[in-house]
Every structure is written in C-alpha cells, then in structure tokens.
C-alpha cells in the first residue's frame, strides 16, 4: 500500500514537471533543423548534434526512454520469478560447455570491448555514440564474461536496485536546471560560459549515468534469461 502510494506520488510529480516543461516546449517544437545546426554546438557545448538534442533540447524524451528500459527489465524479472528456491537443478550446467577456442578468444576481446564501451560513453558529446550505445557495448562485454565462466553467480535484485537509484540520480541531475535556468530538463550551466567547456561536464556526467543504467538494465535482462535455463 505504501509502495503504491509512493508510486502514485512519483507519477503525479512527473506529470506536474511535464506540464511545466510543456510551456517551454511549445516554442522549441517550432524550430527547424537549421536552428539546431546553427546554434546547437554553441548552446549545448556538444559537437555531436544527436547528443545535443538527446541530452539537452529533448531531454524529456530520453528520460522516458530510460524509464521504458527500466519497466522492461522489471517485466522480464517478474515473468521469470519463481518461488521454489534454487529453482533449477545444477545438472543443466554440466551440459553447457563452451568451446575452448571461444573462451580464449573471449578473454582476449573482453578488456578491449569494455574499453571501447567506456570510450563511446565518455566521448558521447564529441563523436558518434553516447550513453545508450556505450552502455550496450559494455553490457555485451559483461555477457561475454558468462561464456568465460559459466558458473558465475549474479544477484539480479542488487543490479536492479542500483539501476533504479541511477535512474533517480539521472532525474535529479536533469531537473537541477530549474535552479540555474528556470526550466526543467536542460543543461545546468548557463549559456555564456567560455567555449562550452563547463557545459561538457554536464553532458559527460549524464552520458556516464545513462551508460551505466543501460548496461545494468541489459545485464539484468540476460541474467534473467541465463537463470531461466539453469
């Protein structure tokens, strides 16, 4: 009952924020693509215009996208929930053998994939990529880890809890701009900082948070799939 109450309060809060930001969106949706090309880099401090739109102009969309992933993860975990403890016997595990060649190659590729994922997350505002793409690559690297060590145990509950808190952090950081700029869901730092280097701090922070959230979400999804068979 308390949980449902909290949920309703949170939904109402999000709805209120939505109404507030709607007044501002009205003028933004009038803009054409040329507007972004001309002022995008200057106003948001991002050379990658996709990130500029995703994390600044249309941050509201991105937040709900991240929320949808969270809901999908919860759904998958709810479907694969079981009451019998140690729900599947261990005999399944012995049959699941990975070829040695694949294991060796995975060990070689794993750190490279992880590094590439982090590179894409951190450089989201200067080169193609961003939180979601980098997070997916990091999740793939973690998935490869399961092929190296088939008996690896993961606590799904903890992953999902961390993911929820990351999502809340993203929401809080995204709404911080109400204090500095007077509107929700835009860059915390004001327009006219020198060269947009301050604004990049905000973009990198948000990209890293979104990246970790996506990686944890996908990790939870395929852990649920892996446990289903054990």
């Amino acid at each position: 009952m308390i949980r449902q109450g909290i949920l309703i309060v949170m939904l109402l809060a999000i709805f209120a924020v939505f109404i507030v930001s709607l007044s501002d969106l009205d003028q933004l949706y009038q803009t054409s693509a040329d507007y972004f090309r001309e002022y995008g880099a200057e106003q948001t401090g991002s050379n990658n215009l996709v990130t500029a739109i995703l994390l600044d102009y249309r941050l509201f969309d991105s937040l709900f996208e991240a929320g949808i992933l969270l809901i999908a993860v919860s759904g998958i975990i709810w479907i694969s929930k079981h009451d019998i403890e140690e729900k599947n016997a261990r005999f399944m595990l012995d049959k699941f053998k990975t070829p040695d060649l694949f294991v060796t190659f995975s060990r070689l590729v794993y750190p490279l994939m992880l590094a590439f994922g982090f590179y894409i997350i951190v450089n989201g505002h200067v080169s193609p990529g961003g939180g979601f793409q980098g997070g997916a690559i990091v999740a793939t690297a973690i998935l490869i880890l399961y092929y190296i060590d088939a008996e690896k145990e993961t606590n799904i509950g903890m992953i999902v809890t961390v993911e929820k808190f990351l999502y809340l952090t993203i929401l809080i950081i995204a709404s911080l701009s109400i204090f500095t700029r007077g509107t929700f869901f835009t860059n915390v730092f004001p327009y006219d900082t020198h060269g947009g280097s301050n604004q990049a701090i905000y973009l990198v922070t948000l990209n890293i948070l979104v990246g970790f959230k996506v990686a944890l979400g996908l990790w939870a999804i395929f852990t649920a799939f892996l446990k289903e068979g054990r």
């Binding site: 990658n48 996709v50 079981h82 009451d83 019998i84 140690e86 729900k87 599947n88 016997a89 261990r90 005999f91 399944m92 049959k95 699941f96 894409i120 193609p128 990529g129 961003g130 979601f132 793409q133 997916a136 690559i137 999740a139 793939t140 998935l143 996908l218 999804i221 395929f222 799939f225 892996l226 289903e228 068979g229």
Partner: protein
C-alpha cells in the same frame, strides 16, 4: 554515372532482402541466429551510408551482439528433454545401466525429435510432494516427472499440457500397458 557509395547502398539493400527471405525459410536454428546477426550488420552499414553513425553503433551492439547471444542461450536450453525419475526402481535404470523399459521408450521418443535425453534423480527435486508436482513442472525446466502408482503398478508420466511434445508422448504410450501419460492443465499465468 552514380558514385560508388550509391551502388554499395543498393547492393546492401538487395542483400538485406535476400537475408530476410533466408531467415524466414531456413530450418536450422543455429544458422538463423548467424543470419540475424549478419542482417543487423548490413543494416548498420546502411545507417552509416545514410549518415547516421549513432544509430549504427546502437544497431551493431544490440542487433548483432546482444540479441543473437540471448537467442543462443535460449536455444541451447531447449535442446534437452529433462526427465525427473521419482520411481527409483528398474523402470529406467537397472543395474547401473540404462536398460529399463521406460528408458528405451523415452529414448525412442527423444530420438524422434532429435533431443538429448537428460534423466535426473536430483534429491532436492525428488523430495517435492505430490501436490506440488505441477508447480515443479511450471517453475523449473523439468519436462517430465516419472513416478509409480503403488495401487495399480502403473508408471505415471506427468508433464504440462501446453508442451506439444506431450501429445506425441501420449500417442506413443498407447502401445505400452504399464505406462500412463498424465498432463497438467495450465493455470492462468499471473495472479
């Protein structure tokens, strides 16, 4: 004279159509997974040609890595037919060798579907009571529970009704007097 990039784009689009038809018509699941991964790679290269590198990175990571790997996991779990042996007599295992009537029957059945027969007498699972057998079938990946009816001396093979394999098992069990196949009705999923 169209430039090289344009020709490549057309070639990739034709390849995409061929790949889609191959995915639908192919029978071997392993090949289909590889084809899906290749399909995603071709789509990603088309995104790059159309100047959308952000989408291309996401497509490569999700479409050609995570989704095929999840398919591989799911399908490798489906390859086995898991039997829980609660009877504990010579119906399946006699003298430490698989020579029982039940084993031969089940082996014939799994060979028909190219499945691997996996017989378990895991103590933890066998100790599950009679009333919870249906729950066990629903919640674990056990396909069939073998037990003995003490009164009639018949061997009871229990499984889920929604499992299509159970229909075939019922047909094959008609020739055997000592075997009776029982199916659990599926309960509504979700409380």
């Amino acid at each position: 004279m169209p430039d090289m990039l344009e020709i490549t784009a057309y070639a990739l689009q034709v390849l995409l159509i061929i790949m889609a038809i191959a995915i639908v018509t192919h029978k071997n699941t392993g090949t289909i997974i590889v084809l899906i991964a290749v399909f995603s790679l071709v789509t990603a290269s088309l995104y790059v040609i159309n100047k959308a590198p952000d989408v291309a990175i996401a497509e490569v990571a999700i479409g050609s890595a995570i989704i095929p790997l999840i398919y591989v996991i799911s399908i490798s779990r489906q390859r086995e037919f898991i039997v829980l042996d609660k009877a504990m007599d010579d119906f399946i295992i006699s003298d430490d060798a698989f020579t029982g009537v039940g084993y031969i029957f089940l082996k014939r059945f799994t060979d028909f579907y190219h499945l691997e027969l996996n017989i378990s007498n895991d103590v933890r699972l066998c100790s599950v009571g009679r009333g919870r057998e249906q729950k066990l079938c629903e919640e674990t990946n056990v396909d069939l529970i073998v037990s003995k009816d003490e009164e009639t001396g018949k061997y009871l093979l229990k499984g889920k009704e929604s499992n299509i394999l159970m229909h075939k098992l019922k047909q094959m069990a008609r020739d055997y007097d000592a075997i009776e196949v029982i199916t659990f009705k599926d309960r509504d999923f979700g409380d």
